[in-house]
């Protein structure tokens, strides 16, 4: 620490000492006016029995930055004013104090911050680099399956919390995921999370696909549709249609559901299949539908 820095520290202590005697003053050296200067001169005369001129205060105490250190005798007076025997004792004490409460320079803080940011960036990149993107396709048509028809979750997750197919996060190199859809057979697959991209081919459930297509159809070919529905739907079929906000369920049997699909209506177009189950004869025995 330079002598000027010691002097800046001494100036702070002078201001503090002044504030003890004149507590209503809440300013700094910049706002230290002629009245305050007069008060300070009187205080120094009273406490230290020394004279300090108004000009000296303006020249050395009020400026924020000093070009040079004042005369030693004046430094002694100021040091005595704040409770030291002289300038030398003040400097000695100040050096010891600064050593205890050393503050790091600003550039060091900035450098540490920059290092932290860089470390954080590399860790983030590393984590992202280990996430894979999964593309799900129909095994036969090779077309991408609509993401709203598919649910992906970690195979060991009993709660089956869905994860986005665009990013399979993992802290390990491989993740076993399960892919489910009302229209495709369930598939479990190991995805290498550091490989960037993974392609999963799903085998369609043909009968479920037919029902989905029929729900989108118009009245054309209604008789063919009726025959096909009779063939693919189990006699024990249960269809659950969820009401708005899942506040209730309407239950239809095979005859009622077939009627709906044979002659499609506006309300049918708003429905989405969320679950399909086949029986041991591969006929559709259960359908769950939600309304959009």
């Amino acid at each position: 620490m330079s002598e000027l820095e010691h002097f800046y520290r001494l100036k702070q202590l002078v201001l503090l000492e002044y504030g003890k005697h004149f507590p209503f003053f809440k300013g700094n050296w910049k706002t230290f006016g002629s009245q305050e200067i007069a008060n300070l001169i009187g205080l120094i005369e009273e406490k230290v029995r020394e004279n300090v001129s108004e000009k000296w205060v303006y020249t050395h105490l009020k400026p924020e930055a000093n070009e040079k250190l004042p005369r030693k005798d004046m430094l002694d007076i100021m040091a005595k004013f704040v409770g030291f025997s002289g300038w030398d004792e003040f400097v000695f004490t100040d050096v010891k104090h600064q050593a205890k409460t050393r503050k790091f320079p600003k550039w060091l803080y900035l450098t540490l911050l920059l290092i932290l940011i860089l470390v954080g960036f590399f860790v983030f990149r590393q984590k992202n680099a280990s996430a894979a993107t999964v593309e799900i396709k129909d095994e036969f048509t090779k077309k991408t399956v609509d993401s709203k028809d598919v649910k992906i979750y970690k195979a060991d997750d009993s709660s089956r919390t869905p994860i986005a197919p665009t990013e399979i996060p993992s802290t390990e190199k491989e993740t076993r995921i399960a892919v489910e859809s009302p229209f495709y057979k369930r598939r479990e697959i190991v995805v290498k999370t550091d490989s960037g991209k993974a392609e999963i081919l799903l085998t369609p459930n043909d009968k479920a696909m037919m029902v989905k297509a029929f729900m989108m159809a118009d009245i054309k070919d209604w008789q063919t549709r009726k025959r096909q529905l009779d063939a693919i739907l189990s006699n024990e079929l249960e269809v659950l249609i969820s009401l708005e906000n899942d506040l209730g369920t309407e239950m239809l049997n095979k005859e009622e559901f077939s009627r709906m699909l044979v002659i499609p209506t506006p309300s049918l177009k708003k429905m989405t299949i969320t679950e399909i189950r086949n029986d041991e004869n591969d006929k559709i025995s259960f359908i769950r539908i939600s309304q959009n």
Partner: protein
Amino acid sequence: MKTTRSVLSGLARISFLVAAFLAFGSAFSQQSSSRDNSLKANFSSAAIVAWQERSAEKITDFYAYLNLLSQESNKELKAQISQNIEALFASENVSVLDFFGSDKKTNLATLLQTVSGSKTRFDVSGKISYDNLSGNSWTVSYSLEVLRNGAKTVIPIVQTIRLSPSRKSFGNSDKVVWQQVLGEMK
């Protein structure tokens, strides 16, 4: 003397058992028949609203079918459409409005015959509101636009909807489910 007494005692015991059985059976059947199947006893207000909105969809489906029936000429398709319409209602004898006739009221079966091939367009317009919720029914109020031979008529309709438990067959088994049907129109 002893034999007579024991016979009488036995008879008294049997009579008591029979009487107790009959009383129990009566109480049980009273309990079963008094189970509350009303909508308010079985559904929350929000659930009833959901069912009411479903009934509005069935009404829209009814008029969609009616539009198909009025445009279609294929006999088999018309029969299928009529079957679909009748399945929406409690029965083909339900009292409905005669949209073309002067006496205003008819039954569903007659309405379908009148509409079939008539080249009429039916559209539900305006706001749909639900009122008169009681027991197992409510009413739906809506306006129906009828376009025929270039002339448009707007008919205000109040239609009853019924929602009640009903036994339904699912192949070899059957279950009691809540069944919603369209009812009479005013």
